[in-house]
Structures are given as structure tokens and as C-alpha cells.
Amino acid sequence: MIRVVFLAQLREQLGAAELDVPVGQIKTLADLKTYLLLQNSSWSGALSNPKLLSAVNHAYVKGDHVLADGDEVAFFPPVTGG
């Protein structure tokens, strides 16, 4: 399984905080996004936002990234703390 986490405004836009996705054919971050959009076509707007950031196992990743069983993948908007 891959644990998927949505945070902040993205979580509100999608109406989902987290979900578990079977690894199946998912090998990369791009595969995961494709899978999520196939499952929930209404997510395409929010999930296609080019400003979204991604993290795998609590580390930022840029571009595509290889995923493995047990990974935690997070999607979130630009950060605004401090």
C-alpha cells in the first residue's frame, strides 16, 4: 500500500485527508497522480495545480519519483508558516 496524504487547502478542496492506495501498477509519483485522477475525476483541477508540492516519506521531491510499497506520499500547497 501507498499512504497518500493531502494537507491544508488541498485537503479541503478534495474533501479527503488521506487514503491508502494499492501499489498495483504504480511505480512512480506520476503513476500515482494518474491513478488518483482516474478514481476521482473531480480532483483534476486541484491536483493539477502547478504550485502543489510533494513529499515522499517526509522529504521534498521534485519532478517524478520512484515509489515503493509502504511509502507515504504527501501533496500540499506552498507553505506559509513562520
Partner: protein, 152 residues
Amino acid sequence: MAFSIAVQEQDFDVGREYGELIFGDTAAGAVVFFVGRVRDTNYARDVKSMSLEHYPGMTEKILQQILDEAKSRWKLIAARIVHRVGELHVSDQIVFVGVTSVHREHAFQAAEFLMDFLKTQAPFWKKELTGQGALWVEENSKDVGASLRWNK
């Protein structure tokens, strides 16, 4: 405790943080600290309160990485980051960054670096409750610029 972080709902006491930063230390001739507070206006909107969300696990990891990076760039004796989460009101304290060093130059620069990187890297998000409703705070290009100047 020389280099430590905390993510917490409860308020922090600046005097106590300062005391702990310099406790038993006779070498640090310079202490610089910064406190960020909830202000009453943001982009001409009246702010009543805000909720601060974070990504548990990643937040702590990133803050620790930022501290490590500061430690590698400047000669620091101690440094501390405290960031609050949850419901905060106008005038509440949000963040504390404290740095000690032998001389002030390193402490000043490291404190600024820590805040600039925290603002653009640490996974915190602010949602303001304003006179115009609840609004997620947008990324600030000034913060991004401030962070980029530290790129080597």
C-alpha cells in the same frame, strides 16, 4: 539542548527560552532571537484569529535539517526553533528562533537564515479568520526572495 526544535500548541516563554539557550554557557558573547506574532492586518484584511496546521513528522524533520544547515554555515553554540500550531489569536506568539554564537555576526545571520528557510520549507499553513471570512494565506513572493538569497 544545544540545537533543538519544538512544535507545540502551547505558548512559549521568551525569557525561559533565552535562559535555556545560555544555560551554563560562558563562551557565547552574542544571542539573537526573533519572535513572530499574529498581527491584526494582512493584505488589508482584518485578522481575528488563525489556525495553524502542519504535517506532523515532516515538520520536525525539516526544522532539524534547517538547524543542521545553519550549524554548517556559521559558528554557532546553540540554536532553538519553537513553532506553535492550532488556534491562535491576534497578538499571540507564533514562532521563536534563538541563536547563540561567540560574536554577533554569526548569530544575526544564522537567525535570519533560519527564519527565511523556515518560512519557505517547513510544512506549516495558516488559515486566517478575517472580516471577509476564512482564507488560506497565500505564498509570499518576498519570503521566497528572502530565502533564495542564501543559495550558495
